[in-house]
């Protein structure tokens, strides 16, 4: 051991921080020190000169943080290993001859903080390698990863930062994340996505080669897209991922509640992580002069990076509302997030309260709210919290008729032709029953219906007499309800004709058997219409 160490110390002393010392001389096998930096070319995005256009505006050198660095000898054996630090610096000691051809290899794999690995679609870890000869080095060995391969290290950096964000929230780093990507290649699913089991990981569009350049849609520099998918990864690891997945757009107001939650949460999480990066890891942020709540997905991998999709979920149109719209869900969460003070509460409800609530119901904005209510650690005041939901017309609150749960509670009858708005929500997670009295005359037919259902409401309608007997009932007017579009889950009794004049009650509840894509808390309007006693004359 003593004999081995002596030349090592000498070589380190000769080489300083640079490496193997001066050139020439013998090729005695000895230890040598090597240091340097690893950087990658990141694409910064922002507003282009053309008005209202967004895309990549420049390339910026950034450190490759926490990545595994290896030295390999001519035989391909690893003779030294270390990791880059926060600044992309590495320092290691390796064994080899001074004239030996070696290579420094930087793996797209982090060894500190959250373990992230970028692999190709054949499960090979991607790496950048630089050849060198120890004896010819007279200073540090710097590595600059440019071009499309830099995308692998951009993803590594984005997800390393996201892991740090989680660590601050959760007290521990998230489990290992694998990213599947390769330059010029489209993932098997045809887009960028998180998959739970095929195998688990984030699959990223790599564009496609056109000549020597990558063109078409690629996402390895689209940090907002990458962070959106990270939101799904967090759902899978810390929360509950019940979404059916598939294609989805921001403008769809009648989404499956599980899909709307999952996508809205993930868009929100991209903004929340960027808000944290602005404060704590500003150098890692790739967006310039854009709100952290904005989302940009370029659709052209070329240097200009044309804009594919841009929106700011803090400034979405007022008509994008309800728990069945993903952009409204993102906005509700952003409202709760506020200046960042609400992130701890959101994380608590998401990671602790919500998994308990979802043992009985699918993950949606409703079960997030259940988790929020159930948690004793959440400190946000209730009026502000409800206002954050109400801003997008999500009413997880008692309605104006909350004293209508029993037959004697309400004396004001619903007039024919008038409409009332109710919520099927009741505090303390209790089941809601609305009993609405109306006066009916013998021999007159009445159509009684719920309509304008919102926030995933599903109604069940019963007509009752004063003794509580059910006279007629209806679950869904539609034969095959399939969407939260306000109509499909509505209920209707076409012609209730009482045998005697009396007071009757419309009872509205949630159905016993529900659809997983619908909800429990939504709102509805109720209307009673007196039908004509004679059929109108029909013209030829």
């Amino acid at each position: 051991m003593r004999l081995l160490l002596a030349p090592a110390v000498l070589a380190v002393a000769l080489g300083g921080c640079g490496g193997g010392g001066g050139g020439g001389g013998d090729d005695t096998r000895s230890d040598f020190a090597l240091s340097g930096t690893v950087h990658y070319g990141d694409r910064v995005y922002g507003q282009l000169e053309e008005a209202s256009q967004y895309g990549f505006i420049r390339t910026e050198s950034k450190p490759v943080r926490f990545a595994r660095v290896q030295i390999l000898n001519a035989d391909g054996a690893v003779v030294g290993e270390a990791a880059t630090d926060e600044l992309g610096m590495y320092r290691l000691t390796a064994s080899g001859g001074r004239r030996e051809s070696m290579r420094l290899r930087v793996l797209a794999h982090t060894v500190a903080g959250t373990p992230v690995t970028v692999k190709d679609f054949s499960a090979n870890v991607l790496a950048a390698a630089k050849a060198f000869t120890p004896g010819t080095l007279d200073g540090p060995l710097h590595v600059a990863v440019t071009g499309d391969l830099a995308g692998a290290f951009n993803m590594l950096d984005v997800y390393a930062a996201a892991g740090e964000f989680v660590h601050e929230r959760h007290g521990s780093f998230p489990p290992a994340l694998t990213v599947y990507w390769q330059p010029g290649t489209t993932p098997p699913g045809g887009t960028t996505y998180f998959c739970r089991f095929c195998p688990a990981g984030i699959f990223v569009l790599g564009g496609r080669y056109m000549g020597d350049a990558i063109t078409g849609d690629s996402d390895h520099f689209d940090d907002d897209v990458l962070l959106h998918e990270y939101g799904h990864f967090l759902e899978h690891m810390f929360g509950v991922l019940d979404s059916p997945g598939g294609s989805h757009t921001l403008f769809d107001l009648s989404q499956d509640l599980r899909l709307a939650w999952s996508e809205g949460f993930s868009s929100f999480m991209a903004g929340a992580i960027k808000a944290w990066m602005t404060e704590r890891r500003h150098a890692t942020l790739s967006s310039q002069d854009l709100p952290v709540s904005s989302y940009l997905d370029t659709d052209d991998g070329s240097a200009g990076g044309g804009q594919g999709l841009y929106f700011d979920f803090d400034a979405i149109a007022p008509w994008l509302r309800h728990a069945s719209n993903e952009s409204a869900v993102a906005k509700v969460l952003w409202n709760l997030h506020g200046d960042g003070a609400g992130m701890d509460d959101i994380w608590e409800a998401f990671s602790h309260g919500m998994p308990l609530a979802t043992t009985a119901y699918p993950a949606s904005l409703e079960t997030f709210w259940d988790g929020w209510q159930a948690s004793e650690l959440i400190a946000s005041p209730m009026p502000e919290t409800l206002a954050a939901f109400a801003e997008r017309d999500v009413r997880y609150d008692n309605d104006a008729f909350e004293l209508d749960d029993t037959f004697d509670a309400r004396s004001v009858v619903l007039a024919k032709g008038q409409a009332e708005a109710h919520n099927l929500f009741k505090h303390q997670l209790a089941a809601e029953t609305d009993l609405i009295p109306f006066e009916a005359v013998a021999g007159i037919a009445y159509r009684i219906e719920t309509y304008d259902l919102v926030n995933g409401a599903d109604t069940y309608l019963r007509i009752k007499d004063t003794a509580g007997n059910t006279l007629e009932e209806n679950g869904n007017a539609a034969l095959q309800p399939d969407a939260n579009d306000g109509c499909a889950l509505a209920s209707r009794i076409d012609a209730f004709m009482p045998v005697r004049a009396d007071r009757y009650y419309v009872e509205v509840t949630r159905p016993t058997v529900t659809y997983p894509w619908a909800g429990r808390y939504g709102g509805y309007r109720l209307k009673i219409t007196e039908l004509p006693t004679e059929a109108p004359m029909e013209c030829p």
């Binding site: 090979n124 630089k130 098997p188 887009t191 078409g216 659709d299 804009q307 594919g308």
Partner: protein
């Protein structure tokens, strides 16, 4: 798991999932769907009719459709741009005629939907005789589960 096993798992899973990304939590799609196609088999040096079709998946107040053609490619007739509002499920087709270049070309058609500051783009491409190349040709060989790319 071996890499062969991995690839087999990937293939089987994707096959089971079908052509769509169902069961995948995918990225946000644009509310306009665009396609571009040649209406007959394109022959170099001959005229070809091309159709660009955009279908709106929502009520959108401002949609613009643009066709990006190489400088040396002449359009003989038809329209290569349009803008206006589109209703949900509405379809709009631009048709034009061009001469198919001898050396190949790439035509990009793009639909951009706007609602205030919110914009959504969707792109479709049509190639004439151009070899797009493949990633496989350009990838260095992998060894021991690591694929190294040489850098400077």
């Amino acid at each position: 798991m071996s890499r062969l096993g991995f690839i087999a798992l990937l293939a089987v899973t994707v096959s089971a999932l079908g052509a769509s990304a169902a069961a995948h939590a995918g990225k946000i799609s644009a509310p306009v769907h665009i396609t571009i196609e040649a209406r007959s088999t394109p022959q170099p040096g001959r005229l070809a009719d091309v159709a660009v079709t955009v279908v709106s998946l929502a009520d959108i107040p401002a949609v613009s459709i643009e066709v990006d053609l190489p400088d040396d490619l002449a359009v003989f007739s038809g329209d290569t741009h349009w803008q206006g509002p589109m209703h949900r499920s509405e379809s709009r087709t631009l048709g034009f005629t061009l001469r198919v270049p001898e050396g190949g070309a790439l035509i990009q058609a793009r639909a951009l939907a706007r609602w205030g500051e919110t914009t959504f783009g969707s792109t479709a491409e049509l190639r004439f005789g151009t070899d797009p190349g493949t990633a496989r040709h350009r990838m260095p060989r992998a060894h021991n589960g690591i694929r190294e790319f040489p850098v400077d």
